[in-house]
Amino acid sequence: MAGRANIPANSSALIAIIADEDTVTGFLMAGVGNVDLRKKTNYLLVDNKTTVKQIEDAFKEFTAREDIAIVLISQYIANMIRFLVDSYNKPIPAILEIPSKDHPYDPANDSVLSRVKYLFSADSVASDRR
């Protein structure tokens, strides 16, 4: 991620997806699938045979690529690499955690909301009042 060049303004960029089969299939039908000359895709289909290492490698690759502006990741998959997702803090590509069929969205686990939640926390204000 260090030294990653920014996407030039007004140029086209891709959406990367790390999700289960149905979610990836649906988004490919919507036209986001891209395969380059080296057969590298902008999506990773996660099933029960996919290892955590493969997910980590895909996340690192997508966040390092210059042509990707948004990375969609199912929240239950993000939970497997939570330390990696939470430590990511660049504006581009934007990491969005999305629900999956079997795992509804939980705002408590969202990395973006976790980063800003202390502003909503009663404890942080109450401790200053004491």
Binding site: A9, A13, T25, G26, A30, V32, P99, V116
Partner: protein, 219 residues
């Protein structure tokens, strides 16, 4: 902050002390009210959009399951994905605010569906709605202005029709991996996930605004 100081001074002169808790809250947050409001609005928008996205995705999954049921599981499967070189038909445009460096900016995302700009599609629809039958003027080169406008409108509407057919072709090509004849449910699945993509782009913009505001107001 200056207004708050003046107000506090006036209260002291009237013999009333300002509430220490209010001052503490300002010190804790360290930012102006506009930025705080922007942060709260973007956080609210983020949560609402996530809820809408969940609904759109649920509809898409349901339609996909229906398509799989009618066409057969082997015809709607990830094993059919084409791994030949291909460009994405739906992409993003990223715009940075002019006064900030990209590394610290609040980027704005726009969706380009089926290789077309969103604004172009809107213009096309508008042109198609305003199309009405016009008389065709034959003969002289110096035609009245009204007729020139009608020719321009006709040209634009034909361009709009071309664009619409181009979009339909792109949509059909995306579904062609599943066979020449596909279930209508597969087409509605495609529409559901297109809707989800639009919501995702709005989510990305809300996220960007939220994080930008947060960086301004955190102590």
């Amino acid at each position: 902050m200056a207004a708050a100081t003046v107000a506090a001074e006036e209260l002291r002169q009237m013999g009333l002390q300002p509430t220490p808790r209010v001052e503490k809250a300002d010190d804790v947050l360290g930012g102006d009210d506009d930025e705080i409001l922007r942060f709260m609005d973007s956080a609210d928008s983020y949560l609402l959009l996530m809820d809408s996205l969940s609904s759109a995705l649920r509809q898409g999954w349901l339609d996909l399951a229906s398509a799989r049921h009618s066409m057969g599981a082997s015809r709607v499967s990830s094993t059919l994905f084409d791994h030949k070189e291909q460009c994405a038909a739906t992409k993003l445009q990223v715009v940075y605010p002019a006064d900030l460096r990209p590394s610290e900016s609040n980027p704005h995302f726009a969706l380009s569906k089926w290789c077309l700009q969103e604004s172009n599609s809107g213009d096309v629809i508008g042109m198609q709605d305003s199309t009405k039958p016009k008389l065709r003027y034959r003969g002289l080169a110096a035609a009245p202005d009204g007729i020139n406008e009608s020719d321009a409108t006709t040209a634009k509407s034909s361009t709009g029709v071309d664009t619409s057919s181009q979009v339909q072709m792109a949509r059909s090509k995306a579904l062609s991996v599943f066979g020449a004849l596909v279930s209508p449910k597969l087409r509605t699945t495609q529409v559901s996930f297109e809707t989800a993509l639009e919501l995702i782009v709005e989510l990305a913009n809300s996220r960007s605004t939220m994080l930008s505001s947060f960086s301004q107001i955190k102590p």
